[in-house]
């Protein structure tokens, strides 16, 4: 046996040192305060002030003008179009996300990692390019342009174009949330349910979906936020026809460029409230799920 205890004089020396100066397990008080102040200053200048300025500018001409800007017919049309787009896009991309996550996490097949990368692709492409590809496909000079014109179908500079561009940009959100989670959960519970005689759909509804509900909700939340707020892709395909193809972010741009600042910030304040609600719901979902639901990137 080797005696692992240190010599007595060393122990005494060590305890004496600990009383004299504590172990350096954190920074000095001054450093801590300084770092906290630096972080808070940075967040103040880049996050909090931009947030406050939206509401300050929106209410600059009083609450009456604020309300009038929101019930103005073109603003209402923009709100309706934005909600319609989100209503179409979010369920489609949620269904895609569940199907993709099921195929990728419950089975083994070659090219799986490539598929995951391809699903991620819209995140790494500039939103402007996301809109442009559909102009190249469906625009007047595009690949299917003559065909569409002959049949009197309008996609670009019309609502279908806005919907497709938004589908492109928000495609990865739900899938990206579900794939890592379902990979970690494995297939045992589904196998058990199927062994006990459940059908495939019953397994999906009663076993898989309850297991993934928080991540699914989070993915839907992010997808919805981006679908409502998307600007670059939609700007390219919309044509900015006021009252017809302007979504809320585009309406903000049009009003702002017309120097109607208070009206622009009034519409912008609705989008800001949506963003704050998204963050609040995210915090609530994390609290419900007990862990950070996701470490995603948008």
């Amino acid at each position: 046996m080797v005696d692992l205890a240190p010599p007595a004089d060393l122990v005494a020396d060590d305890s004496a040192r600990r009383i004299a100066s504590p172990l350096p397990l954190t920074e000095s008080f001054a450093t801590r305060v300084a770092l906290i102040l630096v972080a808070l200053f940075f967040l103040m200048v880049f996050l909090i002030l931009p947030l406050v300025v939206v509401f300050a500018e929106a209410l600059r001409q009083g609450i009456g003008a604020y309300g009038a800007a929101l019930i103005e017919p073109n603003a209402v049309a923009a709100i309706e179009l934005t909600l319609l787009t989100a209503l179409i896009v979010v369920p489609l991309n949620a269904a895609f996300g569940i199907a993709a996550a099921w195929a990728i996490t419950k089975f083994n097949f070659p090219g799986k990692n490539l598929l995951i990368t391809l699903i991620d692709l819209p995140f790494s492409v500039s939103p402007v390019i996301g809109g442009m590809v559909f102009v190249l496909l469906f625009g007047a000079q595009g690949l299917f342009g003559p065909l569409l014109t002959a049949h009197g179908i309008k996609i670009v500079f019309a609502i279908p174009g806005i919907v497709i561009a938004t589908l492109f940009v928000t495609l990865p959100f739900v899938a990206r949330e579900l794939i890592p989670l379902m990979q970690k959960q494995g297939t045992q519970q589904e196998e058990a349910a199927l062994m006990l005689g459940a059908s495939g759909w019953q397994t999906l509804w009663r076993v898989t979906l309850p297991n993934i509900k928080w991540s699914l909700l989070y993915g839907i939340l992010l997808c919805n936020g981006r679908a409502i707020g998307e600007f670059g892709a939609v700007a390219v395909v919309s044509g900015h026809i006021i009252g017809l193809t302007n979504t809320m972010p585009l309406q903000v741009e049009v009003l702002y460029n017309d120097y109607a600042f208070a009206a622009a910030f009034a519409v912008a304040s609705l989008l800001t409230l949506m963003a704050l609600a998204t963050l609040a719901l995210k915090t609530w979902l994390e609290w419900r799920a007990g862990t950070p639901v996701a470490r995603t990137r948008l």
Binding site: S28, L43, K106, N108, S126, V133, V135, L136, Q141, M195
Partner: protein, 278 residues
């Protein structure tokens, strides 16, 4: 029978259905449209390709976009690291509020961010006025682009460093301290090295996002060709002028840059996971 089925590769149904849906949906909405763009760019021919890419306006736009995006990602790496450190390691009033606010640039529509930052940093704005007093013009200059890109990239570094910092084994620090290391030496030789892959992943994510960013930049940039015009805006201008060939050529170069960055991000994330031993 049931016992026998357990030994099969998979008893789970729906492989054909879900993979079919995945591939056709992804193909229709992402893959085929992007391929069409590549064919259009190839259609333009080498002469057009070279002419477009060597035009002073395009070159200047690439310099502005990539240069400022790099600088913004660098600023985010430094301050994002400090923010992540402060949130994970220290306790202060409002810590949880600050933590949930970090994702604001993800959630706030870019056009809203654009007009808010412009109003804030314009000559008469809350922050623009004091800056103007010391002779700095932020809005409608490249500095304005930098401010917008720092805003947009802010969450990436914080959100990649935070989980690694949370999982960090504090016993390593205790051991180093017991062995007599000073705090500075513990930070630089024990704590920071394992965080480096996450920090670089966050930097690359912020950079990749910044070069493609459009909405938050165009309001504050002033958009002067050759000075404060970004590549995505140049693409939009070419499209509005029906110069589809020019737009596709520039977009193809952007896409190639995105692919390279995507590859770099995947490699960095693999490195992060290896360093975490997960």
């Amino acid at each position: 029978m049931a016992v026998h089925a357990l030994w099969q590769r998979s008893v789970i149904p729906g492989f054909g259905l879900t993979l079919g849906i995945t591939l056709s949906y992804l193909g229709l909405i992402v893959i085929i449209p992007l391929c069409v763009m590549f064919f259009k760019a190839a259609d333009a021919g080498w002469a057009k390709f070279l002419a477009e890419l060597t035009s002073p306006r395009t070159l200047a736009a690439f310099r502005v976009s990539f240069g400022i995006a790099f600088l913004a990602a660098f600023i985010n790496a430094i301050f994002g690291f400090i923010v992540a450190w402060v949130i994970v390691r220290y306790d202060f009033p409002g810590r949880r509020f600050v933590d949930s606010l970090i994702d604001l640039p993800f959630a706030l529509p870019t056009a809203v961010a654009g007009i808010a930052l412009t109003s804030l940093y314009s000559v008469h704005g809350w922050l623009g006025a004091p800056l103007a007093a010391i002779g700095i013009t932020a809005a409608f200059t490249p500095l304005g682009i930098l401010i917008a890109l720092v805003f947009v990239g802010l969450p990436f570094v914080v959100r990649t460093v935070e989980p690694v910092l949370l999982d960090f084994d504090r016993e390593l620090e205790e051991s180093a301290a017991m062995l007599g290391a000073s705090r500075t030496s513990i930070l630089f030789r024990v704590v920071f090295p394992p965080l480096l892959p996450a920090l670089m992943t966050g930097f690359t994510l912020a950079f990749a996002r910044a070069i493609g960013e459009y909405g938050s930049v165009i309001f504050i940039a002033g958009n002067i060709p050759g000075y404060s015009e970004i590549v995505p805006l140049l693409i939009v201008i070419k499209l509005e002028q029906f110069d589809y060939a020019g737009a596709t050529v520039i977009a193809t170069m952007m896409l190639v840059a995105s692919f390279i960055l995507l590859l770099a991000i995947n490699l960095l994330q693999a490195w992060t996971r290896r360093r975490q031993g997960g």
